[in-house]
């Protein structure tokens, strides 16, 4: 089993005629993802790797049951495309674009929450339920080489580190139930705790691994849920970016969110907060698998 997607999830790709979208669509199809349509206004009737292109999302949903949409539209078009997908009743959106204007981000995040929809991203390379479904560029051309099926749920700020965690688990003889790149922006649709709460309810997930960075209160929210007992499955956390504490606050290194605004947002503070809540905090990828084994997983 898995969270958010499974083998029967039907997917459309908004902006499918773009280069990256077409590339990822090809590899998703090969992986077995059921992509039932694409949307690019003005390009209705074309085909991309055999997938029919529609002019609007509603045209696609009129023809197919659509469970999820992956958005490859450029930052300036994200707001309208996301609102269009929500308006058509789609309840899982994966937004890949980085640098979406903040006002657009908060609008679509609020609209998704109001609609009761799951919004993954922005700035995500997608999610994968190994052997069942993958949305987005996650795993690239060799998803099976990185993510093997198993019982560990993974959520990461960074798409690249998600792959490293997948490889580390594989090296330790473990596998992944679902791996999600939640996006590196300050404000994301789903927050870290939302994924962990879904994993908590997934009978096929025994433990979760999270990768965090300085900035935002995502890890703090996780610590609160673990401390209060609403997250009971073991959580392993790797938090990078301790080096930033050597430099003045307000300096941003990389991801938009990875900027320290106050003392509770540093990597050290997050590690401490998670550890006191009962989360297993590790310093390196190599520690994850042995730790899970010690926990009997």
């Amino acid at each position: 089993m898995s969270i958010l997607v499974n083998a029967s999830t039907q997917v459309i790709v908004q902006g499918i005629t773009g280069v990256q979208a077409a590339f990822d669509t090809q590899w998703c199809l090969q992986y077995g993802t059921r992509i039932v349509g694409g949307v690019t206004p003005g390009r209705g009737g074309e085909r991309v790797h055999g997938v029919e292109v529609f002019d609007t999302v509603r045209r696609a949903t009129a023809r197919h049951r659509v469970d999820a949409s992956v958005l490859y539209v450029p930052p300036a078009a994200v707001k309208d495309a996301a609102l269009e997908a929500l308006d058509a009743g789609i309840r899982l959106l994966v937004v890949t674009a980085e640098y979406v204007p903040q006002h657009d981000v908060v609008t679509i995040v609020a609209a998704a929450r109001r609609a009761g929809a799951h919004l993954v991203g922005c700035n995500t390379n997608g999610l994968i339920a190994p052997g069942l479904c993958k949305l987005g560029g996650i795993g690239g051309m060799s998803p099976a080489e990185i993510y093997v099926p198993g019982r560990v749920g993974v959520v990461s700020r960074s798409g690249g580190m998600l792959a490293e965690i997948g490889l580390a688990l594989k090296a330790g003889g473990q596998g992944v139930s679902t791996a999600v790149g939640m996006g590196g922006d300050g404000t994301t649709g789903m927050e870290m705790k939302d994924y962990l709460l879904l994993f908590e309810r997934d009978p096929e997930t025994d433990a979760t691994v999270l990768f965090g960075e300085p900035g935002t209160n995502n890890e703090q929210q996780v610590a609160e849920r673990v401390a209060s007992g609403s997250i009971r499955k073991p959580v392993v956390a790797l938090i990078a970016g301790q080096f930033q504490e050597r430099y003045p606050a307000g300096m941003s290194f990389g991801h938009a969110a990875a900027m320290i605004t106050d003392d509770t947002k540093t990597a050290s503070a997050k590690r401490q907060m998670l550890r006191s809540a009962g989360v297993h905090v590790v310093d390196s990828l190599e520690e994850i698998s042995p730790l899970l084994k010690r926990l009997g997983l």
Binding site: P75, P101, Q102, G160, M161, E164, A240, G254, L285, E286
Partner: protein
């Protein structure tokens, strides 16, 4: 965040229908004097710098006629105020102020945050330290916007007189709409003044806008922060501004291991790892994931290799899921050759696996001291290796010195 100057901020608010005193920017004493032709009478001349406490710094002065306006401008232009060079002044009609309120909007989370207070005219930092209860804070639902009745409630909570509430609420709603249309990340009105006739006036105004929304505001795209002083940081920032394909960043630090990373999570992780092994990164960087245009990657590599402190280089990337490895390695080889870098004295560790890897390995084969790690090497092992190799490379240099 792009900080707009006072003239641009006020121009935007004026066009949004807000009560902004008449004023104009001037870049010379003559231009400052000439403002009398559009508005005569009592005026203030202010150094146009994006900072508070200008009054305390002596950078806000009264000047009425043309000669006085020109004289103050002459004194202010070319100086520094709170660390910012004064390239322009803002000349504005003088408002007689009866009361000073505070209004701000900030977008740094999932919803815009509104802050207001009856105690304006002082810095918000000192207000929040000394009398935090004087600041009223609320989040605005981005789908609903700011309703006049909600704004009225907040001003009442702030303790203003009932008679002023309708006016302040109307202004707050206009400011909220102007903030959203500007793609504002921060808007501070301090003071939001009440003049002698009881009318509200936007006297102090600062706005920061979203650099990623400049496609909606092409006029503001050039209002960016000044270029960094460090020549290598400056070169990378110029390359960044030159083309729209992804973003690059280069921040020089005090260590001696050059760090070429993507810039997301793995960049942070490797930086931590280098420190844990006793190494010290010479920089942090961000390189774009797209491989179509390598100019930004090239700019960052050139900066790293031009840094005289660099004694080793770690090219450390996650298992490549999308970008091709050979594009990165080809760029590395190009820069090494163009700069005629003697790699026998500069160890390079490459941890880069994925599409195009065979070609990548072939490109560096036979080059001295380039260590392309075997597939499966962890980020940690690569970090340890470059720390060891750099330590070894450092020895003869230091012995020679």
């Amino acid at each position: 965040m792009i900080r707009l100057d006072e003239a641009r901020t006020k121009q935007w608010l004026r066009q949004a229908g807000l009560p902004v005193p008449t004023g104009a920017a001037a870049v010379s004493a003559e231009a400052a004097g000439a403002t009398v032709s559009s508005f005569a009478g009592p005026a203030v001349v202010k150094a146009m710098v994006p900072t508070g406490r200008r009054g305390k710094a002596g950078a806000v002065r009264l000047a009425d006629d043309a000669r006085a306006r020109a004289q103050v401008a002459r004194e202010l232009l070319g100086t520094q105020v709170n660390g910012f060079p004064v390239d322009a002044v803002y000349v504005e009609e003088c408002i007689s102020i009866k009361a000073e309120y505070y209004f701000a909007l900030v977008l740094d989370g999932a919803a815009p945050r509104l802050l207001l207070s009856r105690q304006g005219g002082v810095e918000i930092e000192s207000l929040s330290r000394d009398t935090p209860e004087a600041i009223v804070q609320a989040f605005v639902d981005p789908l609903e916007g700011l309703a006049p009745w909600a704004a009225s409630e907040l001003w009442l909570q702030a303790g203003v007189a009932s008679s002023e509430v309708p006016m302040l609420a109307a202004i707050s709603c206009l400011l909220y709409d102007a903030f959203c249309r500007a793609d504002g990340l921060m808007l501070e009105i301090n003071p939001l003044a009440i003049d002698a006739s009881g009318q509200a006036q936007i006297v102090g105004a600062m706005m920061g806008v979203d650099p990623h929304a400049m496609f909606r505001h092409p006029d503001w795209a050039q209002s960016r922060d000044p270029l960094p002083g460090n020549p290598r940081e400056r070169a990378v920032e110029l390359a960044n501004r030159r083309s729209p394909n992804g973003e690059c960043q280069y921040i020089e630090l005090d260590g001696d291991i050059g760090l070429l990373v993507g810039g997301g999570g793995a960049g942070l992780y490797q930086h931590d790892l280098l420190l844990s092994f006793g190494g010290a990164p010479a920089n942090h960087c961000v390189t774009p994931p797209l491989s179509a245009d390598n100019s930004k990657l090239k700019a960052v590599l050139t900066a790293i290799l031009s840094n005289p402190s660099v004694r080793g280089l770690l090219v450390g990337f996650n298992f490549a899921q999308m970008a091709r490895t050979d594009v990165r390695v080809r760029t590395l080889v190009e820069v090494l050759d163009e700069m005629e870098v003697d790699t026998s004295r500069l160890p390079i560790v490459i941890r880069l696996f994925g599409a195009g890897e065979e070609q990548s390995r072939a490109m560096v084969e036979g080059r001295a001291n380039i260590h392309y790690m075997p597939r499966g090497t962890t980020l940690r092992e690569a970090a340890q290796r470059i720390v060891e190799l750099t330590a070894a490379a450092r020895q003869p240099n230091e012995a020679a010195a």
